[in-house]
């Protein structure tokens, strides 16, 4: 039922199919539009609403949302860009909608995965059963940059290593969702999930009245609960803080936003000192103890006494305080050992090994260049593959085969041969697409064009394992581009997980 504000009592009912009359699927799976160019059932109500809008209204709302982002200062910092130090992440106001049923599978799959990964990290720094049993080769772990000697034998509070994970999911042309990678170190993006929702509510209040959308706003509260849980029993009224590298970090907005939402201090390394074995903040009234840090600084920079000696970002002595149980850290140092694209290839094996279950969400088929046979295959098929360094993040240092020149492939082949362990390769997926609002067509009509997307849901391992319903939908705004990273010019969308029961009929992807 619609309480639409459309004044058009006499005019014919708006037809949502009209929205996509000229839409080009381009041969890809589209998250919003079915093959017959009508909206998929999950997006049907949304599209009806859009179709009801007066001409030009959608573009006006889009512009209003962008103005609001600038006014609110929702930005990320760009490295090496002195002038426009901050940019807003382009935001497309058409939400991406996910059915309750599909989400149930995703949620189960993500929980299964993170439990296995967490067991794996603990095992690597502990008994190393999985390595001794040869399920994951010892050499693959020991040759990775993520393994931290300083973490050997650590017993993190509550036995959990990875409290916050952002797992990237992509959908291939057959409609299957694959896990592309697990971000287990300091994953970014959740602040944009919350801000995107806020912007959508502001620009489209009507949409929320006739869709049952699962809320995301309690994420900061759940994160704080997890942080407090980590100090459980040890201290009465724990003091938590977010540890940031500072204002020039690309994710500074997020660090600040989360601290603000949780109502806890945002600290930099220079605000902290380890004294009498405890971590203390420098305050206007002298030192004050900190019990748990949500750290957004990478391992290597966390503590110059334990890791990189030249780091000015961290806190000397932090690791010692952590080791002796006087401060809790989320995520625990060392989680990067599982955030390695070579180790990623073994996650299905970990799930079988630790949980004795079949993986619910499949990995993207992946070749490890460290295996001689795979290396041969990869080098022979570079133009059809995506090749990634095992330890980079942010979409840098990749080769996208189909979009590369012969010279680039030659240069990349040399790099792979130099250090095969450091590279993995995947067949180029036909990533699914979503419609985004482009500049209006010459006749002023709505111009919707398909762009590739991925999805990064966030998982918190606290008193219970919580999966944020939805996640960050990142859009490659350049036509045809497969790279969705914000540092590479990607944009984002609000992501709706419907709470209503089964709209799966005719959904197409099952």
């Amino acid at each position: 039922m619609f309480q639409a504000q459309s004044q058009s009592t006499g005019s014919p009912a708006p037809n949502p199919a009209e929205l996509f009359r000229d839409y080009d699927l381009g041969g890809f799976f589209d998250e919003t539009v079915a093959e017959d160019l009508t909206p998929r059932p999950a997006s049907d109500r949304l599209c009806r609403r859009i179709a009801e809008l007066a001409p030009g209204d959608l573009a006006r709302r889009q512009a209003a949302a962008e103005t609001a982002m600038r006014r609110l200062g929702i930005t990320f910092s760009v490295y090496g860009d002195a002038r426009g130090k901050e940019r807003i992440i382009p935001f497309d106001i058409l939400p991406r909608v996910i059915t309750a049923e599909e989400w149930r599978t995703v949620e189960r799959g993500l929980k299964q995965r993170i439990v296995a990964l967490d067991r794996f990290i603990g095992d690597v720094y502990g008994d190393q059963k999985i390595l001794n049993d040869g399920v994951v080769p010892r050499s693959a772990v020991e040759s990775g940059e993520g393994l931290k000697k300083a973490c050997m034998g650590l017993k993190p509070p509550r036995g959990v290593w990875c409290h916050i994970t952002g797992t990237d999911l992509v959908r291939d042309s057959d409609g299957t969702l694959y896990v592309l990678e697990d971000n287990l170190r300091v994953p970014s993006g959740v602040s944009y999930v919350l801000q995107n929702r806020r912007l959508t509510k502001q620009t489209f209040p009507g949409l929320f009245t006739d869709n049952d959308i699962r809320p995301v706003d309690d994420y900061p509260w759940r994160l704080l609960e997890c942080l407090h849980w980590l100090c459980g029993g040890r201290v009465e009224d724990p003091v938590a803080a977010v540890l940031t590298p500072g204002i020039y970090n690309s994710a500074y907005f997020e660090h600040s936003f989360l601290a603000q939402q949780m109502g806890i201090p945002l600290v930099e390394g220079r605000d902290l000192v380890v004294r009498d074995g405890f971590v203390q903040m420098r305050t206007t009234r002298g030192p004050r103890r900190v019990d748990v840090l949500y750290r957004r600084i990478d391992d290597e920079f966390l503590d110059p006494a334990a890791f990189r000696k030249d780091s000015l970002l961290g806190v000397p002595g932090l690791m010692e305080a952590y080791r002796s149980g006087r401060v809790a850290l989320a995520n625990a140092p060392g989680t990067g050992v599982a955030d390695d694209k070579v180790i990623y290839t073994y996650v299905p094996d970990m799930i079988r090994y630790y949980l004795n279950e079949d993986p619910i969400l499949p990995n993207v088929p992946t070749f490890r260049c460290g295996d001689p046979d795979s290396l041969k295959h990869v080098l022979a098929n570079l133009e059809t593959m995506v090749v990634k360094p095992a330890n980079e993040s942010g979409g840098s240092g990749m080769l996208i085969g189909p979009a590369s020149s012969a010279a680039e492939r030659e240069e990349f082949a040399a790099r792979i041969k130099d250090d095969p362990r450091d590279y993995i390769a995947q067949p180029t997926l036909a990533l699914s697409r979503v419609p985004v609002l482009c500049d209006p067509a010459p006749d002023g009509s709505l111009n919707l064009a398909g762009r590739h997307v991925d999805l990064r849901p966030f998982i918190i391992r606290g008193p219970e394992t919580y999966v944020l319903p939805g996640g960050l939908t990142r859009v490659a705004l350049t036509p045809g581009s497969l790279v969705v990273n914000s540092s590479q010019g990607g944009g984002s969308k609000d992501t709706w997980v419907l709470s209503g029961e089964g709209r799966a009929k005719g959904e197409g992807e099952e």
């Binding site: 006014r71 200062g73 806890i264 201090p265 420098r282 002298g286």
Partner: protein, 321 residues
């Protein structure tokens, strides 16, 4: 609260106040040129503004002649001048960005927009916005500055961070009131025969208007005399831009932060401010005029600087690990 955060909040608030005061400052001359159509143009003196802002050396080196255009460019939109309206707001906004979790969302939003408004005006028409439409631009800056104050008081918990805001604002405002008053000293110098003439009264009125004080002054003193203007802008206990009023507020903020009883001190900051406050509280306008207004203002400014330094040493300086 974190020392770093306290420092950022203090400077955020100081710099917004500074930007607003630079706008008021320029208003002295804009008001004068409005009041004196016959003397306008050639009669305008812009050099005193640069002198009293304390940035004369930097100005002369880069601009040379103190024309209206040069002075407005320097004081309003010069990104290399750290005390220009534009720089103050860019830095205030950057400070706010580092303490977003401690200030209210409305403060952040307002300050972010204020900064965008100013930088867009400065970029517009090849950076001539404030030069071409100075009345409009400086009026907007004054209004936005006042709004920031209102938003701060209405939306931020009146706890320690707010006290640091108040401290920074009041120290800055006290300093700027002495500088606005000092403009008169420099304006007078070239033409001492003007003293006591209608022209002299017009200058004092323009000055009071720039300090936002003309109407309130008239309520209290009526006719404009130099002694009463000094009394009002320096020693009035109830007018919120008078130096003494600002010092009392700053002193209150400081004692609220430390918890030390008023009238005593436990830190260099409290000692410095307390001394300065007492000195003004026990001075009469006649004595200031007789002893030389400029000398008095100058020494007050110096002591305000020392107070600022003492605030730094007491609260913000990195303590030994």
């Amino acid at each position: 609260m974190l020392s770093r955060v306290a420092e950022s909040v203090y400077w955020m608030s100081r710099l917004v106040e500074r930007a607003e005061n630079v706008a008021r400052f320029i208003g002295v001359n804009l008001n004068l040129s409005l009041d004196l159509p016959d003397r306008g143009g050639e009669g305008e003196q812009w050099h005193p503004l640069v002198v009293t802002s304390g940035d004369d050396a930097a100005f002369s080196k880069r601009y040379g002649e103190a024309t209206r255009r040069n002075v407005i460019r320097f004081l309003a939109l010069d990104a290399e001048n750290p005390n220009s309206v534009r720089s103050c707001l860019a830095t205030a906004r950057e400070n706010a960005r580092t303490v977003r979790e401690c200030i209210s969302e409305e403060m952040w939003e307002h300050l972010n927009q204020f900064h965008l408004m100013v930088s867009e005006a400065c970029d517009a028409r090849k950076g001539e916005g404030p030069v071409a439409e100075p009345h409009e631009f400086f009026e907007k800056v004054r209004q936005a500055g006042q709004q920031f104050l209102g938003v701060t008081d209405a939306t931020m918990t009146h706890g320690e961070a707010w006290q640091f805001c108040r401290l920074g604002r009041c120290i800055e405002r006290a300093d700027k009131t002495t500088r606005i008053l000092d403009v008169k000293y420099y304006l007078l110098l070239p033409e001492p025969e003007d003293v006591g003439t209608p022209f002299d009264s017009l200058q004092w009125a323009a000055l009071l208007r720039s300090a936002g004080a003309l109407q309130m002054y008239r309520q209290k003193h009526g006719r404009i005399t130099p002694r009463d203007v000094v009394d009002f802008l320096v020693l009035d206990l109830q007018f919120p831009r008078s130096v003494l009023f600002c010092l009392a507020q700053a002193d209150g903020a400081l004692h609220a932060i430390t918890g030390t009883p008023s009238g005593t001190f436990a830190s260099p900051a409290e000692q410095h401010l307390g001394k300065l406050h007492a000195r003004l509280a026990f001075t009469r306008a006649d004595e200031i005029v007789a002893g030389g207004m400029h000398e008095f203002l100058d020494s007050t400014q110096r002591q305000l600087n020392q107070t600022g330094k003492a605030v730094y040493d007491t609260f913000f300086a990195p303590q030994p690990g």
